[in-house]
Amino acid sequence: MMGSHMTFPAETPPLATPETPLLRVEGLGKFYGARIGCADVCFDLFPGEVLGIVGESGSGKSTLLSCLAGFLEADAGRVLYRGRDIRAMAEPERRMLSRTEWAFVHQNPRDGLRMGVSAGGNVGERLMAVGARNYGSIRDTATDWLGRVEIAPERIDDRPRQFSGGMQQRLQIARNLVTGPRLVFMDEPTGGLDVSVQARLLDLLRGLVRDMGLSVIIVTHDLAVARLLADRLMVMKDGHVIEQGLTDQVLDDPQAAYTQLLVSSVLQV
């Protein structure tokens, strides 16, 4: 499969087991001049675990996610993926990782999709990026994945702009998961969708996470989304993690004052 000489990893560390974390973050910090983007973030993410990051706008959630995914250069701390520091990794290797073992689902599907390329091409891009050169098998895989995200196979040659918002988001998910990543970053994946579409998307995500054994870091300001998807929760405010624990524990028995405010701010219908 591999067309180029860039194979990852150079020396394969042992697979993460339930005892060793897939991702370990130590003292991560990002500063915009004197202002804090995020600071002193520490956590472990184990295989198959879903970590939710909640907090209000401007609390540093997205900054943290971008630092983890390698979009932003962090200023302090270490991010160890399967024991290797991604900040010390060479760029080709990091980009290879983000094409194969990692995935990033953007809030706005337009950021994560190629709008001028058909749905099949969008799903196939990651396959071709790691060396797939058989049109028939790329197309079969793309068709299969469209089915898995509930997009009709006959729409494989349509452009994403002909899709509804919910379909675009599902297409983005298919495009990201097609190479079977281990670690998925999601930035408000349900933002901007109406509630019934949100519900179906969450259902789909939950199924995929369970079936594929994905580790997920999901940033959201929607506590319901966090409750449904996340095993553990991290609450951020002003760039700092103020509380973390099991999702139900954090939401049902919030300790920090801000978390209590956050939980009580949710409208009850």
């Binding site: 860039m6 760029e91 099949g120 091409g121 990026a129 049109y135």
Partner: protein, 289 residues
């Protein structure tokens, strides 16, 4: 100002030296786009300003120059560039591929096989093969540096999905020596097989985009494709109506308003020399009259 007031081959020596440095770097790294300080030339962009600068940097007084435009020696672009170098360099010019030591071309490779010692200079409008897939120059450079060429196949995938076959028929992307993906300039894909293993030096100049790249003799050049949709060079399914050649690239010429048309070799020198050898096609003047 008299022609004598120009330096040999129009450009000053320092400029030619700068271009030669870029050429040498290009030859050392086949397929890599070398930036160079492209000069304003006395012709508009899109008319071969890059090719002209490369030719000027390569010419010596002993050289014999041939200029073709879409294979023809007698079209506007070819005639004016040939005259330009006749006046500013005073070099000999020819229309015969075999006699030329430097050939500047727009969008064709001559039919006759080139030999060692010949230089083929291409005029390139857009040197970046990834341009229409990824608009950011900073990003395409990084993709070249990291050999991330999956996107190029996305384009070919889209072709097959929409047209049932790879519909790209010119400027067909190639991979050079297993490393750089290169735009071969808008030559028909019929000419792609001649890029690889060619005995001549092939130089590519893009004036507006300020890039030079090169293929040294006998470089490995592979046209990108899929396992189940292999690369196929294509041409019009006819013989030349003037010289009867079956294996040359053809131009279609509309001859009247009732659907009349003829196919003729796009390489005028190739066609003329075949006719001089007595070969005839379907519509050769003797038979057609």
């Amino acid at each position: 100002m008299s022609e004598a007031a120009y330096n040999f081959a129009y450009l000053d020596e320092a400029t030619k030296r700068m271009i030669r440095r870029a050429l040498l770097k290009g030859l050392a790294i086949p397929g890599y786009q070398v930036p160079f300080a492209s000069r304003e030339m006395p012709m508009p962009y899109g008319w071969g300003t890059g090719g002209v600068q490369v030719t000027a940097a390569c010419l010596t007084p002993e050289d014999c120059l041939k200029v073709i435009d879409q294979g023809a020696d007698d079209t506007t672009n070819a005639v004016s560039i040939r005259k330009f170098f006749e006046r500013t360099a005073g070099v000999a010019t020819t229309e015969h591929t075999a006699e030329a030591s430097v050939i500047q071309t727009r969008h064709r490779i001559p039919e006759q096989a080139l030999t060692e010692g010949q230089i083929l200079v291409y005029q390139v409008p857009i040197p970046e093969p990834l341009r229409f897939l990824e608009p950011r120059e900073s990003e395409t450079r990084r993709m070249h540096a990291l050999e991330e060429y999956g996107l190029m196949h996305v384009k070919l995938y889209e072709d097959i999905a929409r047209h049932g076959a790879i519909a790209t028929s010119y400027a067909y992307p190639v991979k050079v020596e297993g490393r750089y993906v290169m735009d071969p300039s808008p030559i028909p894909k019929f000419d792609n097989p001649k890029l690889g293993g060619n005995a001549a030096i092939q130089l590519f100049g893009a004036g507006r985009e300020q890039r030079i790249y090169a293929l040294p003799p006998y470089t490995q050049v592979v046209s990108l494709d899929f396992e189940d949709h292999p690369f196929e060079p294509s041409k019009a399914d006819h013989d030349c109506d003037l010289c009867g050649a079956a294996q040359s690239y053809l131009d279609e010429v509309i001859t009247d308003d009732r659907g009349g048309r003829m196919f003729i070799c796009s390489d005028t020198d190739f066609c003329a020399s075949r006719r001089a050898d007595g070969l005839r096609g379907r519509l050769s003047p003797e038979e057609a009259a």
